[in-house]
Amino acid sequence: MKFIFADSLDHVDPGYDFLRDRYSEGRTPYWDDAYPHEIMGYAPYKGMLVSRGIVGGAAVGGKYTEAQAMRFRRVGAREFLRLDKPQFKELPIFGDCGAFTYHKEDKPPYTPEDTAEFYDDAKFTHGCSVDHIIFDFDESLKGFEGGTEEARRRFEITLENASAFRSATAHMSGRFTPMGVIQGWSPGSMAEGARRLVSMGYDYLALGGTVPLKASQIKACLAAIRAVVPEKTQLHILGFAKADEIDTFGPFKITSFDTTSPLIRAFKDAKANYYLPTTSGKLEYYTAIRVPQALENPKLIRLAKRGSLKQEQLVSMEKDALAALRSYDRGEAQLDETLDIVLAYAAPAVMGAPLEELPDAKAVKDLGERYRRTLSDRPWRKCSCAICQALSIEVVLFRASNRNKRRGIHNLGVYNALVNQLPANSDRNDSTQFSSDSSQAERNAHSSFLCSASV
């Protein structure tokens, strides 16, 4: 089971100055930045996925700048993602259309032909057909029954596009694997979609629209699909949001899945944003500590605009919180005093009001307890990844992109190791094989070690 990382220009400045909170002198974004596989010293995934919606273009405004999007197509995905080094040459690069970026449209803004051209220009190794998301999932429906008129319309669009996409990519055979995307409103309809894709000649199918589904619903779909497609048909789960439940997906013989969840959780999840593996092969989650930038945090700016907090005061609280945390990390400050200083500043940023105006709020207490656990356990000391080793406590500070993304990249490393360890992957002999009993010295010896708890 391959973990494919869905990228969205997730790179960091390797020379970022954490004490002054400044980018390295003369840094050019993207060019001087490092992708996860560059900063970690190994690829914490088995491939990357780039969505056409993220690249952007005339139809959908993406995340790339116009000049970057043009260059992506010109030089190709591998060179753009800097996976053109010998050690990454074998990593596949998947493409999809990013159906969520156009789910409100009547039909997809892309044609199978221009999508094939996009994949061909950018030299993707794998690419998904042009699908259209179907909502209103109902797992109680049997077979091909049910489905609104709109759902059935989208179902047909998805399959017609898949058929045209196969023809449009026929000339790329040998250097490109087309993937037929399954959309449906029930396990049965998905199975029907899969059956029809197989009869078109697809041997690699991608299950789409799973983001709003519960893990049990996705499993029901996979079971129904597996029942109708040949044993050798490969399955991919697109945009797999239930990444931390991946260990329960073994029975469905998934070839690959893509997710961005371990990275995103580092700065989108309120609680579980720092991953640490346990000795039993599971994940443990910690809450990163918020020390936002006093003059840039939108909630704090709002408080300043309303006049309830002075910016000069915020700047000094920010300074104190950072100083306290660093002293604590050096063993020069006590846990309780550190926590008080940190909470006084974090509370307004999290709850949008000064601490005095939040008397006994349960939320503050909970926050305090989560921060206490993070500080007293010092998980960053238990991880030997390049990022935690270099950053120490900074990695658990929830503060601006360079810390948050680094924490996310650390999470990718932990997660990748977890996936490698799954029974489904136990027979694979990857260079990044997880080894829970390797000594510290051995781990330091290769940079392609994994973040593992030294407990």
Binding site: R22, G26, T28, W31, G57, A58, G61, T65, E66, A67, Q68, A69, M70, R71, R73, R74, V75, E79, R82, D84, K85, T111, D114, E117, D121, Q293, L295, E296, I301, A304, K305, R306, G307, S308, K310, Q311, E312
Partner: protein, 373 residues
């Protein structure tokens, strides 16, 4: 010792206000001048007037101030209503100003709050700045001064860009624009340029092609295209200048009747959208064909001749997307659509030429543009 004394000079401007100028250390300023940000109390009464600080702007000023050659000739404007005395005034205006800080800072910063905040963050040196002090009758008058002073009109962008190349030590954001502006200016004035006199600039209002459009082509190429490597060569500026000049010479040659005597209103070729979209075509030809001269670019552009609608007719972007020639606007979406359409044709032509044996001999493998890594 709560009184601060400064030798000052008074300017006679108004019978009702006192206006003074003096120099003070940033640390002293922080003792006698407050930044009152605008806020409302529980009853909705307005107090203060300054907007919140803009972190990026402050950072830029701070970076500058940390340099040894930094100067800050324009004053921080501070208004007072009380706690200020003018002493020992001489007929020529020289005097001493005494500020009493016993009850906190009596002055309010009317202009220069971002500068003052940045000054406060420069730890290595205590900078002396000019202070223009206004002594106002009351708070209302003080707020009026704030509005008057801050209601200035920014300089036109086009003039700023044109001045940029003559200014050193700019923040990075302006630094890239500066190189682009320099090359664009050279394209407009160099005898050998194919665009001589054709670019609109503040100093060349009769130019046809928007300076910002040609600058965008240059900026894009420097950030993600062929000029990124080129500009680092010892003669990088010359190479880059020649590349752009040669490319648009080819454009004029291939689309002669749609270029000559036209304005952006009569031809989309000389319009911002056409200029910028073609900039991306230049990148493709430079990469896939290794094109550098106008003849090489012309050969790559020739395949477009029958597929364009610069001055009439319609663009056939897709079966479902046909556009009247005039509907192409200077917006990203149109530029990208147009560029993708043109690039599609050009790429197909490059492929065809490569696979044709007769052409292949005349067309040696293009030099691969070095990757950035």
């Amino acid at each position: 010792m709560t009184a601060l004394n400064f030798p000052a000079i008074r300017a006679r401007q108004s019978e009702t206000h006192t206006v003074l100028s003096f120099a003070a250390l940033a640390s002293e300023l922080q003792k006698f001048a407050l930044i009152e940000r605008v806020a409302r109390d529980a009853e909705g009464a307005l107090s203060g007037f300054q907007r919140p600080q803009i972190a990026g702007h402050i950072r830029e000023i701070r970076d500058y101030l940390e340099k040894p050659e930094a100067i800050l000739p324009n004053p921080i404007v501070v208004a007072f209503t009380n706690s200020v005395k003018v002493k020992d005034e001489r007929p020529d205006g020289r005097c001493t100003v005494e500020i009493d800080t016993a009850y906190g800072a009596p002055g309010l910063v009317v202009d220069g709050q971002q500068r003052l905040t940045a000054l406060g963050q420069v730890e290595e040196k205590d900078f002396q700045v000019f202070v223009s002090a206004i002594i106002c009758r009351d708070d209302e008058e003080l707020r009026r001064q704030f509005v008057l002073i801050n209601n200035t009109r920014p300089l036109p962008k086009s003039l700023i860009y044109e001045l940029l190349p003559t200014v050193a030590g700019l923040p990075r954001r302006l630094g890239d624009r500066s190189v682009a502006a320099e090359i664009a200016a050279r394209l407009n004035y160099d005898e050998s340029s194919s665009l001589k006199g054709k670019i609109y600039q503040h100093t060349n209002p009769t130019g046809i092609i928007r300076d910002t459009a040609i600058q965008r082509v240059i900026i894009n190429s420097m950030s993600d295209g062929v000029m990124r490597e080129m500009i680092r060569e010892p003669d990088g500026n010359d190479l880059s200048f020649r590349l752009i000049s040669e490319f648009y010479r080819a454009v004029q040659f291939v689309f002669r009747s749609e270029w000559e005597e036209h304005t952006p209103k009569t031809s989309r070729l000389v319009h911002g959208a056409g200029i910028m979209a073609l900039g991306y075509v230049m990148e493709v030809l430079a990469l896939l064909d290794g094109a550098r001269t106008w003849q090489e670019f012309s050969r790559g552009l020739a395949c477009l001749v029958d597929g364009t609608a610069w001055t009439s007719g319609e663009w056939n972007f897709a079966d479902s997307d046909r556009r009247h020639w005039k509907s192409i606007q200077n917006v990203n979406r149109d530029i990208v659509t147009l560029a993708q359409y043109l690039i599609g044709i050009v790429r197909a032509d490059v492929k065809r030429r490569r696979s044709t044996p007769t052409d292949a001999s005349a067309d040696p493998k293009p030099p691969k543009v070095a990757s950035a890594t």
